[in-house]
Amino acid sequence: MESNDLSTLIDGCRAGDAPAWEAFVRRFQGRMFALAYSYVGDREDARDLAQEIFVRLYEARAQWLTGDEFLPWLFRVARNRSVDFLRRRKVRTPPATVDEAAIAELADPAPSAEARALDSDRRGLLHAALRGLSAINREIVVLRDVHGLSIQQVASILGIPLGTVKSRASRARVELAERVLALARGRGGG
C-alpha cells in the first residue's frame, strides 16, 4: 500500500503535479534532513543542504527513477549534493584520529535550545558518535543501519566493491559502539 502511494507520488511529481510535489516534500523532509545532518553535523547547514537536495530533485523530476530503484537513486542524489556542499563550504568532518575529549566537547549540549534537545538524549549521543566516525564508515552506517538500504545498494551509492562494504559495515558498527561508550563515559553517564 505504502509503495503504491509512493509510486503514485513519484508519477505525480514526474508529471509536474504541484500537490504531489508538496506531498513528496512533506513526506521526505525528515529523511533528507536527517541525511544532511549526518553529513554536516549542524542544523542550519543541514537545512540549507536538505533544501538544495530538494531543489535538485525538483529540477531533475523528469528523470526520476521508479519502483525499487527510486530510493537508492534518491540517496545517491542526496549523497552527491552533500559531498558537493561539503566541498563548497570547505567543511571538514572531524578526522578519525581526533581524541575522545574533543568529541565529547563537540557532543556537549550546545547553547541553542534545539541543539540541546537533540543532544540531550541517546539520539544525540548517537549523532555525536556518528560524527566521530571516519567518513566512509559513517556513510555505511547511515545508509545501511539508519536508512535500511541493502549492502548492494550501499555499494552502488558509494561506488565501492560489495566486499568492502560488507567488511567495513561490521567494523563501522564496532567503531560506533566504541565511540558511544567513550562519549557516555566522557559525559559521566557510564
Binding site: Q29, R31, F33, R47, G148
Partner: protein
C-alpha cells in the same frame, strides 16, 4: 542443535559476569552457533567487540544499558530512529517556495551548454585553453617555429607561383591606363575640345578595373584552394606516416604441379 535458544545464547554472551572468551568456549554455545547463521552474524559484530569488552572492567559500566548489551545490538536497534529528524517549522514551505518558480529540467543540450558555460566562465579557463592549444599545435606541427617558417615559405611560394603573372598583367594594364589619362599635347587654339571622349574613357577605365579585381579575386581563391589542397596532402602524408596502411597479404607461391 543444542537446547539453547538464540535469546539464551545472546543473553549469556551479554552477561557482564562472563568473559566473551569463556562464553565462546562453552560447548552448548559452540553447538548452537554451528547451526544458527543469525547468531553467527551477530557474533561477528560481537566478536569484534571482544577487545573492547576485555579492556574494560565490567563493573565500571555495569549500570549502562549500552555496556550491558555490549553496544552493538542496542545501537542497531536505536539507529533507525535517526532516519528521520524534524527539520523544524517552515522547512517544507521554504522548499516549496524555492522550487515554485523553477522551470522543469532542461534537455541534455541545454544542460550541456550550461555546464560548458560554467567551465568557460572559470578564471583559469584561459590558461587551460592556451595550454591545450599549445599542446595540439606542437603535436600537429612538431614545433611552433618550424611550423611558422614552413607555412610562411609555403604560402609565399604559392603566392609567387599563382599571382606572379596576373600582377605583371595588372601592372601593364595600369601603365596603359595611366598613359591614356596622361595629359596630351596642348590643344591648338580654336580646335574643338575632346571632352566627348572623356566619358567613354572613364567608363572603360572602370570596366578594366572591375575586370582586374574580378580576376585578382579568382586568382586569390585559386591560391587559397591550392594551399588548402597542399595542407590536406601534407596531413594525409602525416597520417600515413603515423598509421601506415596494413600491408597487402602476399599471395601464396604457386607450386608447380609437375
Amino acid at each position: 542443535m543444542s537446547g539453547m535458544t538464540c535469546d539464551s545464547v545472546r543473553a549469556a554472551a551479554l552477561d557482564p559476569d562472563i568473559h566473551p572468551r569463556d562464553w565462546m568456549q562453552r560447548p552448548e554455545v559452540a553447538a548452537h552457533l554451528s547451526g544458527c547463521e543469525n547468531c553467527r552474524d551477530w557474533l561477528e559484530a560481537f566478536g569484534a567487540l571482544e577487545h573492547l569488552w576485555a579492556a574494560e572492567p565490567a563493573a565500571a559500566f555495569a549500570d549502562s544499558v549500552l555496556a550491558r548489551t555490549c553496544g552493538v545490538d542496542a545501537l542497531l536497534a536505536e539507529l533507525p530512529s535517526l532516519a528521520e529528524i524534524d527539520p523544524g517549522p517552515g522547512f517544507a514551505e521554504r522548499v516549496l517556495l524555492a522550487t515554485s518558480q523553477r522551470p522543469a529540467a532542461a534537455g541534455w543540450l541545454v544542460r550541456w551548454a550550461g555546464a560548458w558555460r560554467a567551465v568557460v566562465r572559470r578564471p583559469r579557463f584561459a590558461w587551460e585553453a592556451a595550454y591545450v592549444a599549445t599542446v595540439c599545435w606542437v603535436l600537429v606541427f612538431g614545433n611552433p617555429v618550424g611550423a611558422w617558417e614552413w607555412s610562411a615559405s609555403r604560402i609565399g611560394a604559392v603566392a609567387r607561383e599563382r599571382l606572379g603573372g596576373p600582377v605583371k598583367e595588372f601592372r601593364a594594364d595600369l601603365e596603359s591606363w595611366r598613359a591614356q589619362w596622361a595629359p596630351g599635347p596642348a590643344v591648338a587654339p580654336g580646335a574643338a575640345p575632346q571632352q566627348a571622349d572623356a566619358v567613354p574613357l572613364a567608363l572603360r577605365a572602370w570596366q578594366a578595373g572591375a575586370a582586374q579585381i574580378q580576376r585578382g579575386t579568382a586568382y586569390v581563391f585559386d591560391a587559397l584552394k591550392h594551399a588548402w589542397t597542399s595542407i590536406g596532402e601534407w596531413v594525409a602524408w602525416l597520417v600515413q606516416q603515423i598509421w601506415p596502411p596494413p600491408a597487402e597479404p602476399q599471395a601464396s607461391p604457386v607450386r608447380s604441379t609437375q
